[in-house]
Structure formats: C-alpha cells, structure tokens
Amino acid sequence: MGNMNTLLQLLQSSIAFGTIIMFGAVGEIITEKAGNLNLGIPGVMYLGAISSLVGVFFYEKNVAQPNPFVCAVIAIVCAFLAAALGGLLFSFLTITLRANQNVTGLTLTIFGSGVANFFGGLLNGFSGGVGQIRVETTSRVFMAKIPFLSDLGVVGKIFFSYGWLVYVAIIIAVLSQWFLNKTRTGLNLRAVGENPATADAAGINVTLYRYLATCIGTGIAGLGGLYYVMDYTKGTWANDGTMENLGWLAVALVIFAIWRPKNAIWGAYLFGLLFWAYLYIPGLTRKSLELFNMLPYVVTIIVLVFTSFRKKRENQPPNALGLAYFREER
C-alpha cells in the first residue's frame, strides 16, 4: 500500500506540472503554427501568474466578502490579458519592427521574470515582515475538486482529484487541435506559418494572423502561470525558478509533440512524470539527481533526431518558422 501511495503521489504531481507545461505548449503551438517562434513562454507564464495574483489580491483585500466567482473571473482575465500583452509586445517587435525572434523571445522571458519577481516581492511586503500573502478565496475556487468523482478511490484520485484548470487545459488542447486542422481559419493560420507569400497572394492578412496567433497563444500560456500560483502554490507567491523551468519544458514539448496539440496532452503528462521521477527513484545522490532532471530534454532531443531522420514533411517545423515576412519588392 505504501508503494501504491507513492505511485499515486507521483502521478498526481506529474499531472499538476503537466498541466502547466500543457498550457504553455498549446499556446506556443498556435504561435509557431503561424510562423512566430516565441521563446518568451516562461516570461509570459510569469506575467500571467503575477497579474492574476495582484488582481485578486486587491479584490480580496478591499471587499469584505469576496465572491468566489468574481475572484475566478478576475484571476483568469488578468492572467490571460497580461500574458497576451507580453505577446503583443513580442508581435510588435518581431512582426512590425522585424526584430530577431529568438532574441526578442529570450528578452521577453527575462522581462517577465523580472516584472513578476519585482511585484511578487512588493506584494509579499503587504503581509508585513517576511511573510507571504495568500489569496485564499480565489485559490480555494481554483483548487475545488469535483465532488463525488474525486472520492472514487484510486480512480477518483488519479483522474478527478485536481482543480478544474487541469480539465480546462485538456479542453483547450482538444479545441486547438480541432481549430488548426478542421477550420478555415486554422487552415489559413497554418498557411501563414508555412508559406506567408502564398497566404498573402490568397488574400490572407499575414500580419493580422500572426499578431492574433501570438497574442492568443501567449494568453493561453499565461493560464499555465495562473494554475501554478492559484493551485500548485495555493495562492501564494514564492519564486524558486520552477515556473521558468516549466516554461522551457513547454517550448521543448512543442517539438516533442511535433506541433500537434493532441500530442501535447499526453506529452505534457509524460514530461511531468519525467520531471518528478527523481523523487521516486531510490538511491539518488544530489549529483545523479541532476542527471534525472535532464530527462525531458533528452527525450526531446531524441524526438528531434528521430523526426529529422524520418524526414516526413508533416512532422517538420512550419516552413516559415522564425522568419519575418515582408512582401517582395523589386
């Protein structure tokens, strides 16, 4: 039974972290499918996390009886908008000003983490002394488990013992898969990422598509930050760099999932599992532990080698990924 519990714990923490990675990866897939390579995912997760925290903190502080529903709405809207604003900044720099996407993305990550830690520190200052703030009402909303189902023994624990954002992530991934492959807008978006000149000639507004894909993609990634602060850290701000690690794993997962949201679902849980595996492998020293932390990245590299080896065109990155587009001029 002891082993059973350990395994259960491992699965539960894998799904918790997998959810954060999934939000980031699905958002990044939408962005990359339109041709923008945004390495600012960790940054926008930070932005989403801190904004939701700040938003609900002031709401809870100034209202005697905070309404749980309003708390949730404020948190979601703040997280999505702040992250999307990060995406807007990225879009403006890379699409309109044609700055290098890699550099801009890395800068956005540094920017996001700086902003979040600055305001996170300020926020914790409000609690006085060295304490931490806690947005209790809101985090309780996000941590609410499904009644009855979560009590169904082992099955309930594995599948239904999480806050509802876990299921939102899966729904968003499924919707994105449908959107990209079955809708006209999705088709147009993929065309923009594959061959912007062709899309342009077909009358598609390349700039608009790239702006929207990047902003919505970063907005979704921002929900990963929301889940981290509201559910995983229970409505507190404590930065130990975990969110940034998860953000990078999300970027790696995009490649692992070969740009398909449906693969990002199980891939994210696998990455979560690999992330936590070290805790459950006996006899690890501090040194060998670090080796295990590499696992998700090693798996990504293997997938990269494998996909480039097979050379199947559908499994390659979008053709125009990372390239600014401007109409040919003579």
Partner: protein
C-alpha cells in the same frame, strides 16, 4: 467592338527606383475568349505588366478597365491579389504559390470566405467538376510536395478557376514542362478558350506562340511594340518585332591579336535537380585575346555553363573542359578539379548580378574585407590586411567606386558600385580566363561603359573573356564571336561583326534541330 474586350490597359507606366523603367506607356486589349501571347525578350516588362493586373504591383500611372459582368468595361483599381480575384483575374506565376504540406483541396480552399468549418468533400467535388469540364487531372488528396511540377501548375490553374477567374494569365507556363506536358496544357487552354475564358500566355518561345495563340502582342524594353494576328505572323516577323532595329553602340572593339586556344570545351553536359539536362553536349573553344559573347533566353544554361567551367557545377561523365596555359602551352583538364584549384590556375568567374551579394561579396563587410576573401589564406595565424586594403583603394580609385570609405559595408553601395567592386577584384587577380554574367544589368549607361572598357582592357592583355549578356545590341558591339544557347543546347556560334540581330534572335528562340543532330 468594345463589348468584345475583357481587359483594357491604357497608358500603363511602371518604374522601379529612379532609373529602371519596367513599363512605359503600354496600351493593350485582351479580348473575350481568346488566347493572347505576350512576347518579348528578358526584361522587356512582360511579367511586370501582368503583375499589375494580378495585384502584385500597382502602376505609377495609367488606367485599367475590366469587363466584370458582361456589361462593358469599367475602370478598376487593383491593389492586391484579392482585388484581382474579385475581378475574375487569376495569374499563374512561375514560382508557384502553393503550401507544400497541404493537399490540393486545402490549397484551393486557402483564404476563401469566412465560414469557420469547411467542407473538404464539397471542395473536392467542385475541383473534380472543374477538372472534368476542362480536362485537368488533379488528385484532391495529394500533398503538394508529392506533386510533379506539371501537377503543381495544373493545381494553380484549377485554384484560379475555382475562385472564378475568367481571365487567366500564365507566366512562362511551358518553361518547366516536358513536351508531352506542354501538349496537355495547350489542350486545356483550348478548352478554356472554348468556354469563353480569356487567356494571356507570357512566353518567348516562338513556336508555341504560333501554335496556341490567336493574337500576339509584343513588348520591347518596356514599351508596347504592336499586336498582330497569329495567322499573319511568321517566326521571322515575330523575331523582328521582339528584337527591334539594330541600335549602334559606341563601344571600342579591336581585332583580336595573336589569339591562342585557351579553353577547349567538349561534350559538356549538366543535369539539373529535376533530372533535366541544363546543358546538353556543349562543345566550343574560347581564345585568349577575344571576347566570346554568350546569348540566350535566360535559363538556357548560361549559369550552368559558367559554373561548370569554374568547378562549381557537377558534370556528366564524358564532359571535358581543357585549359591551355598561356605561358607554358601545356593543357590540363579542369573537370574533377575543385573550384579553388581552378581559380588558382587563373580562371576567374565574376558571376555578377544574378546574385550580386550572394555569390561574390559579403554584404556586411567593407570593400577591403571583401578583397580579402580572395587572399585570406595568406598570412600566418593572423590575416594579412595591408595588401587587400591597398587593392581596395586601388579599385576604388581606378573604377571610381562611389563609397564613403573602403570599410563601408558593400551592401550600402548602389548596384553599379557593387558590380565594380566585384569585377575589379576579379580583374586584380590577373586572370587568364575572365567570365562575367550580366555584368551591366541594372547599371546606368556610364557605368556600363566603364565595365565594357574594363573587359576590353582584359582582352587586350590576352585574357579570354566570356561575356554572358542579355542586351543583344551590347553583345553585337562588344563581342568578337557570339555563342548562342537555346534550351541548354549550343545553337550556333556566329561572328559578331557580320551577324544580325535577327539571326541571333532566331537562334535564341528556335532550335535548329537537324543541324544540331549532324554537328
């Protein structure tokens, strides 16, 4: 009569930059249900003119009228490809505008109306209906990257028709097709014409013009020359319209002195990436102290010829390029040697503008650093900088390169100055064979003459100069002999002093089958 016209272009002018006039005051009618050939040499402005109908470019001045509903012509303004589609104009470009990882159906559906979900089956049925009507063959579920060039072209035409195009523009559609595929294309073109569509075919292949079109309009150097009924046209009358009267240019030309064999090319054959022969069994000899002009429609194998000699192009077994050293008189085989070895023997390729900054110069480096690209192997550990610096200064002074300093990045220089740097550097290496391609493309008259002067100097020094050009007047005035390529084959070598423009024009466009087979 007016009712008969689908599109009218009136006094269209388009310039690029300050100097390049692509179209000047062109007026042209396209009738309903006809196939109109648009004929002209390279750079005569055919594609530019049609791009203005397709919404790629916008004319500087002039008017475009389109009959959209059968009720006569209306003036329109075409600002984007979308506008063109809405007017029923579809253009099939030389470089296909298709997404490789999409199926035929997805490519057709791209960018159309706003409804969220789309019915792939319905579109596939529509595609099939279009195919049945005109005799196309398209597999709706085939991915574009699995398609042959001909299939991609067919898909482009179907895509245009699906979007309701009544006026189809085909930009050199046969350039990439085999003869059988060309016949198939012509069949569907005739079917479309029967159906009342207007088709404009841009081409410079005279036999195709005569075979497929109802009327022929000709452009020369951006200007409209005239339109004739194909029934009244012959190969020679069309050639004359295309190349025009001879223009006499004041380029000095001395008789070659003491010319000795320098390059002996035998049975040179190259295959391009599609498996088609880009060069087919070329044999000729280039002499020291002469300028050998190379004429041909662009893409006839000029690039491959120069690159094969320079060691940059793989050749088929049996090809031979023999180099005779002017000092020792010994001959050696260039095929199989690396580009560097060939260069060290004195064979210089200044492959000028097709890719001015791509192949010869590094745009972000200054003149002096670019000179160093030829000598970076000199010096121990640290590069030797003084020589290249002096050379850069010398080229700047001698050729009057306009640049703030020799360390200014060359990409900031104008096209002509970049070309001077490139040619100057190659000449400074004191080559024994100097090959240039389109050395004066895009240059103003004065700079062009400077370049001609440079080439003549080299000729007097005994260098074998191979000059690939596109302006026949210049070729006639500058070269001693002119080698004419047609479809990768050597279609004749003529004496530049006695030949006529018409003769070269004919050789460029019309393969002399029988004579080639014997010779």
């Amino acid at each position: 009569m007016e009712n008969n016209i689908a599109v009218k272009l009136q006094n269209i002018t388009k310039t690029f930059g300050k100097q390049v006039v692509a179209n000047k005051d062109v007026t042209l009618d396209i009738r309903k249900g006809e196939i109109l050939s648009l004929l002209g040499e390279n750079g005569s402005g055919k594609t530019t003119l049609m791009n203005m109908l397709a919404g790629i470019y916008f004319p500087d001045s002039g008017h475009i009228f389109v009959d959209t509903d059968g009720n006569g012509l209306k003036e329109v303004s075409i600002c984007s490809p979308k506008d063109a589609y809405e007017l029923g104009i579809g253009m099939i470009h030389q470089h296909f505008k298709l997404v490789d990882v999409f199926t035929a159906t997805e490519n057709v559906a791209l960018g159309l109306d706003k409804s969220i979900a789309f019915n792939k089956k319905q579109i596939a049925l529509d595609i099939k209906a279009i195919c049945d009507r005109y005799g196309f063959k398209v597999d709706p579920d085939k991915k574009v990257y699995n398609m042959s060039v001909s299939e991609k072209q067919t898909l482009e035409i179907v895509k245009a028709l699906y979007r309701g195009a009544n006026i189809l523009i085909l930009d050199e559609p046969t350039a990439v097709l085999t003869p059988q595929e060309t016949d198939m294309l012509f069949d569907v073109m005739r079917n479309m014409k029967q159906d009342g569509k207007s088709i404009i075919i841009i081409t410079h292949k005279l036999n195709e013009v005569l075979e497929i079109s109802d009327r022929v309009s000709t452009l020369r150097k951006g200007e409209y020359v005239g339109t004739v009924d194909t029934a009244d046209a012959t190969v020679s009358s069309l050639t004359e319209m295309m190349v025009g009267q001879k223009v006499t240019l004041e380029i000095d030309r001395n008789e070659p002195v003491d010319s000795k064999e320098r390059l002996i090319v035998k049975n040179l054959t190259c295959v391009n990436k599609y498996g088609v022969k880009a060069l087919d069994d070329i044999s000729f000899t280039a002499y020291g102290g002469e300028i050998l002009g190379v004429a041909g429609i662009s893409g006839s194998g000029q690039k491959e010829l120069l690159e094969a000699i320079a060691g940059l192009q793989e050749t088929v077994d049996g090809s031979s390029v023999e180099y005779v050293d002017p000092n020792t008189g010994t001959s050696s085989q260039l095929i199989g040697k690396t580009a560097l070895q060939i260069k060290n023997m004195g064979v210089a390729l200044s492959f000028v503008p097709e890719d001015r900054l791509g192949m010869g110069l590094v745009g972000s480096m200054g003149m002096s650093d670019n000179m160093m690209l030829r000598s970076y192997r000199k010096g121990f550990v640290f590069t030797e900088r003084k020589g290249p610096k002096n050379l850069a200064q010398k080229v700047k002074d001698d050729l009057e390169v306009v640049t703030p300093s020799i360390s200014t990045p060359v990409r900031k220089l104008s096209g002509g100055n970049v070309q001077k740097v490139l040619v100057g550097r190659e000449i400074a290496a004191e080559p024994t064979v100097l090959m240039t391609a389109y050395a004066v493309r895009g240059l103003d008259v004065n700079t062009s003459y400077t370049i001609y002067g440079l080439l003549n100097q080299q000729k007097e020094k005994g260098v074998a100069v191979i000059y690939v050009g596109e302006d026949l007047d210049v070729l006639l005035a500058l070269s001693d002999r002119i080698l004419v390529l047609c479809d990768g084959k050597l279609n004749g070598i003529v004496d530049a002093r006695t030949t006529t423009k018409e003769e070269i024009g004919l050789l460029m466009t019309h393969l002399r089958e029988e004579e080639n087979d014997n010779g």
